[in-house]
């Protein structure tokens, strides 16, 4: 049996259903992220686990115990809030000790635990400070220490890093993950930041409009998205409008250029409009002369070789530091692709004719052309 078991949970606000039939089994010590856009129901689901919302239907069990109707203060679940939620009238040490005092632990035990937690979050010298005397990152670490001090069965984090700047966000997410691993605490992490979810999680639950779109490891979610929403929400995705030529061979035509997908498209009909999805990192850019490029592309299409090739024109070149993002336009469609910044080579110029190649297995054909 799973350590945290969320079974058939639904949440209605009046006539509106904000979470539909949510099922999830979380193993002990697992790090799960709820990922989705604003309003997808991820925070509501988290709040149902915390006890701040009562499910309209379904059950939530922790370690076999049904907690669905228990009050938040009876669940022994630690929570870290987006806005830190530190008590402004208390020092850092008092904040961390709050839950232990409520549990009427002996003073010596409280002092020891507070010192231990402050050491874990690397702020042992700031116990006497007030929250307003700390930076955002420090405040969030204290909030984490406060949530962990009571030794909760499950740790819940509701977009804990979204109020912090980019650099601190990256370092703090690494700290959170390493702390979670060392303590072995079962954790649910809510975020709308796909990079956070992909880098931290054992598994990701992708949600949209109150429904679970896909549950899987970061690798599965990124490389084998099961729905169009997952494909477009996780990672950057190029969506190309095309037409199915031969569904059995996986052949489609995009802006007059034939390409192949090794993924199953047998459910589509020849002549049917479709959308093809391609990750930017799957495409490679070749700077060639126009005629040569067209020749390569047409001969390649005829031979049905191992990689797809498309000829296009560079529309935009964006320098992003270590990466250069290039936008190549074919006719109606365009794709973005990333190349590493090479200081010894000049980036391609706008208007240059280029060939883009990508593997057949990288092209995911979706039903319908609306993208």
């Amino acid at each position: 049996m799973a350590f945290l078991d969320i079974t058939d949970v639904r949440k209605n606000y009046g006539p509106q259903t904000v979470v539909h039939k949510f099922d999830l089994d979380v193993e002990r010590g697992e790090f799960i992220s709820f990922l989705g856009p604003s309003g997808c129901g991820k925070t509501t689901t988290l709040r149902m686990v915390a006890g701040f919302e009562v499910p309209t239907a379904g059950a939530i069990r922790i370690d076999g115990k049904d907690i669905t109707r228990l009050r938040p203060n009876q669940r022994n679940v630690g929570m870290v809030f987006q806005s830190y939620a530190l008590f402004p009238n208390m020092t850092v040490a008092d904040n961390v000790a709050f839950g232990l005092k409520i549990a009427r632990k002996p003073a010596t035990e409280i002092a020891g635990r507070v010192a231990e937690m402050l050491k874990i979050i690397k702020l042992p010298h700031l116990g006497e400070r007030f929250p307003y005397q700390l930076s955002g990152g420090q405040q969030q670490r204290v909030a984490l220490a406060r949530a962990l001090a009571i030794s909760p069965k499950v740790l819940l984090l509701d977009e804990p890093l979204s109020a912090l700047d980019a650099k601190i966000r990256v370092s703090l997410r690494e700290e959170i993950r390493s702390l979670q691993r060392s303590l072995g605490i079962t954790t649910i992490y809510v975020t709308h930041d796909q990079e956070e979810a992909l880098s931290m999680s054992d598994r990701i639950v992708v949600m949209n409009e109150g429904r679970v779109e896909q549950i899987g490891t970061p690798f599965e979610i990124y490389n084998n998205p099961r729905t169009r929403f997952v494909a477009s929400f996780v990672g950057t995705l190029n969506l190309l409008k095309g037409k199915v030529v031969d569904p059995v061979a996986g052949k489609i035509v995009i802006d007059g250029q034939e390409v192949f997908s090794s993924k199953r498209i047998g459910h589509l009909q020849a002549g049917e409009a479709c959308a093809a999805a391609l990750r930017p990192e799957a495409a490679t850019l070749h700077q060639t002369e126009l005629q040569e490029a067209a020749k390569i592309a047409s001969s390649f299409a005829r031979e049905s070789g191992p990689r797809n090739r498309m000829v296009g024109t560079i529309e935009e070149v964006s320098f992003l530091g270590s990466v250069v993002r290039i936008r190549v336009r074919f006719q109606e469609n365009a794709i973005s692709l990333d190349t590493f910044n090479n200081p010894n080579a000049t980036p391609p110029a706008r208007g240059a004719q280029v060939t883009v190649t990508f593997g057949r297995e990288d092209l995911l054909v979706l039903e319908g052309a609306e993208g």
Partner: protein, 261 residues
């Protein structure tokens, strides 16, 4: 100094003159009791009058009771509205503003009709029960100031998230209210308490019509029968009020450092 700053200073000076000149005039007049020279005779008379001590003491007691009752009503109401019933805020704000719209004399006549000695709840039957009625009527009068002060304090902190954070750590409702919420709105409550004190200490209509020995009716009585003592009383009342304000400011500043977000 730029033009904007000069304009600001002129506005401040004009404002101060508007308030201070009459006060200086009153103070100067209160010193003229002894013919041909300045003296504190009027103050000596006032402080020596047992009615002054009795009425001032009575009004202070009424003010303290009003603050206690008011805080007990207003703080949980404001907290609950902030936490669970934000849609009711306009209605509650409207209700709390009504004492500013309805004259005190109308309210007190209503009380006399409702709670007279032959009614089901004869609050005016004895002196103590009338004191109780007076406290309740003062709570009504102070409601606009007390509610607004507390509500502003509640809005300044994220009541909902702090409540949830405390609840998540195992705290019960009383613990949340007394250990988390109240300490963080202490300054706001003190401001409301000061405004309530200032309202109650000089209140005349309610106390007079309910026939209670309060400071307001005493001030009126002195004003009607004496020349210099009312000015001395006005200055004393002003100083007491400012002393309260200063005290609250000092206490508030001490807490503000800790409670700043």
């Amino acid at each position: 100094m730029n033009q904007q700053k000069i304009g600001s200073w002129i506005a401040i000076i004009v404002g101060m003159l508007y308030f201070i000149v009459p006060l200086i005039g009153t103070f100067e007049f209160s010193l003229r009791m002894r013919r041909g020279e300045y003296s504190f005779d009027a103050y000596r008379v006032v402080f020596g009058d047992p009615n002054f001590q009795a009425t001032f003491g009575y009004s202070t007691l009424m003010a303290v009771l009003t603050i206690l009752v008011g805080v007990l009503i207003v703080v949980p109401t404001s907290y609950w509205i902030q936490l669970r019933l934000p849609k009711l805020r306009p209605l509650v704000e409207f209700i709390t503003l009504m004492p500013l719209v309805i004259p005190a004399i109308v309210i007190v006549f209503g009380y006399l009709r409702l709670y007279n000695s032959s009614s089901i709840l004869p609050l005016t039957a004895t002196a103590r029960s009338t004191d109780l009625l007076l406290v309740f009527s003062y709570v009504t009068l102070a409601l606009p100031y007390l509610y607004r002060a507390v509500d502003t304090g509640m809005r300044a902190i994220d009541v909902r998230v702090l409540t949830e954070a405390a609840e998540n750590l195992g705290a019960s409702w009383p613990t949340i209210l007394f250990k988390v919420i109240l300490p963080n709105v202490r300054v706001a409550i003190l401001s409301g308490a000061f405004l309530t004190f200032a309202t109650v200490i000089g209140e005349f209509t309610m106390a007079s019509l309910l026939n209670r020995p309060a400071f307001g009716p005493y001030l009126q009585l002195m004003g009607a029968n004496r020349a210099y003592e009312p000015s001395a009383l006005a200055v004393i009342a002003f100083l007491v009020t400012w002393a309260c304000m200063g005290l609250i400011n000092v206490v508030g500043r001490g807490k503000q450092i800790k409670a700043a977000p």
